[in-house]
Amino acid sequence: MHGVRRHVVNTLSAFYAVLIYGFIFLPVGVLVLFSFQDSRLPIMPFKGPTLKWYEAVLSDSRLTDSMINSFIVAMGSSVVAVLLGFLAAFGLARYVLPARGLQRALLTAPLTVSYLIIGLGLLIMFNAMGVPRSLWTIGIGHVVINTPLCFAIIYSQFGDHQVNIERAAHDLGASEWQTLWLVTAPMMMPSILASFFLALTFSWDEFIISFLLSRFDVTLPVEIWGLLRSGLNPKTNAAGSMVFLISIVLLVLAELLVFRRFNGRVNRK
């Protein structure tokens, strides 16, 4: 490439990148900025900073309760989803089962259906069966949307090179469960953890299913939605910023704990 052309391309690239990054960060930046706004209105000019809205959020027991609810549901549903997804991925990757394609299609089908429809279907079913709405029903819904995700991620990482590793374990005397527990699961740990963290953030963030399937105990997104509907409330900015912060912490943790640690291993494969 000619020097001049390269220069032009680089300049244009930098310009474009700055523009898009600006677009991506604009709403989050504004949100975080106004969470420190020392006024009830989230409009310019900026006054402050103040931490009083954060204090208000933390002393609002409904918000903190819903945060805890969200955490419980996210943890519980992600563990179940990863477990179901992993076992199914293992079963389908290792054994020749009849109607394999059909099973795979069934397991991943919820990915192509909108959350609203999944939630509505569950709501109609639970109503018909007289099951009361609770954190449990939200959790069930979240497992439905996250199992296909965990299954797909883990299934894609099962390869033929691992078959021999499992055979070797069998050959050396390990039972099927011993092999699963001591060899397969640790070997698949990067994808298991990746799908777990993804499921965790999806559940933590999910609104419509939680909204449809909750009654008295609600999750954080539903509670924030309630705040929004009750009019302009500066606490929303602080609560939203905190959710963002918690997600970032989760993400950085995942990055440091899972991907950095396993990167070397994966790359060398």
Partner: protein, 282 residues
């Protein structure tokens, strides 16, 4: 094959299959049944007919909601792909190797804000007294604040924001999977950078782009929150109409019928681009 060994092979897949059947397939069945019933005088009556579906297509405002959904979905998908591809390309080919991961992580960071909060944050930006308007008023480009919020433009901006992040991630992953030797071979055979991109890089990444685009469309068409918060109630989309049936009137039969129509639309989209969507195990 003995019964024992076939159980052995099934038991791993069975829990997930049962869960999917019990909490996904069966609820869909309930929904189909519900869509054939009617809410009459505050009670749901098992009428067993297709009235709800017929009604949907005879009421112009409902058909308009479906069309709005499709229009917004397509617009968002196209804009997002066009915005995300160059960014993914820049990160993959113009950012030094050691900074790529960080650059990518930054590009998708706001992805992890709560999705309700993200839409609300756009409201802060786009509202009449939001920072875009106050900025434009300050520098004197406009005399009156723009009414972006509570319009389909706000909905589209909110969606595009989200899906630019998603698509940047998937397209970047696609670009990185390509062996650099393809581009080298093309250059070696005399193709310039533009022709290399057009004939080699683009076709090779197209399947990944299609998967991302399909996902964008599906998620867009099925979303309630973003149009609700940003689009307001001037121009409804299908999910908003569905939620109205449930929220205001507890009209589950109608909501169920519309949900099934929505699902069929998505299925049709899937069938249309099925041959580009190969989500197989590599």
């Amino acid at each position: 094959m003995s019964a024992q060994s076939s159980w052995k092979r099934w038991r791993l897949v069975l829990p997930a299959l049962l869960w999917t059947v019990a909490f996904f397939i069966v609820p869909l069945g309930f929904m189909v049944v519900m869509s054939l019933w009617h809410r009459i005088g505050g009670k749901i009556v098992a009428t067993w007919n297709f009235e709800n579906y017929i009604e949907f297509f005879t009421k112009p405002h409902l058909v308009k909601a479906l069309l709005n959904s499709l229009e917004i979905g397509l617009t968002v998908t196209v804009i997002s792909i066009f915005l995300a591809y160059p960014l993914a390309w820049i990160i993959a080919y113009r950012v030094p190797e050691r900074w790529q991961r960080t650059a990518l992580l930054l590009a998708i960071l706001p992805f992890w804000t709560s999705y309700v909060v993200r839409s609300y944050a756009w409201l802060l930006v786009l509202a009449k007294q939001g920072i875009v308007n106050s900025f434009l008023l300050d520098i004197g480009i406009i005399a009156e604040p723009l009414a972006i919020a509570s319009s389909r433009y706000a909905t589209i901006i909110g969606f595009v924001h989200f899906f630019v992040m998603l698509l940047t991630l998937t397209i970047y992953a696609n670009l990185r999977q390509l062996s650099p030797n393809y581009a080298r071979a093309a250059a070696d055979l005399g193709a310039g950078p533009l022709r290399t991109f057009w004939h080699i890089i683009l076709p090779l990444t197209l399947p990944g782009v299609m998967v991302g685009g399909f996902l964008t469309f599906v998620l867009c068409v099925g979303d309630y929150i973003t149009p609700k918060i940003l689009g307001g109630s001037n121009e409804l989309v299908l999910p908003q109409v569905i939620m109205l049936q449930i929220g205001r009137r507890a009209d589950f039969p109608n909501a169920a019928a519309m949900s099934i129509i929505l699902m069929l639309v998505v299925t049709a989209a899937y069938v249309l681009c099925a041959r580009w969507l190969k989500m197989e195990r590599s």
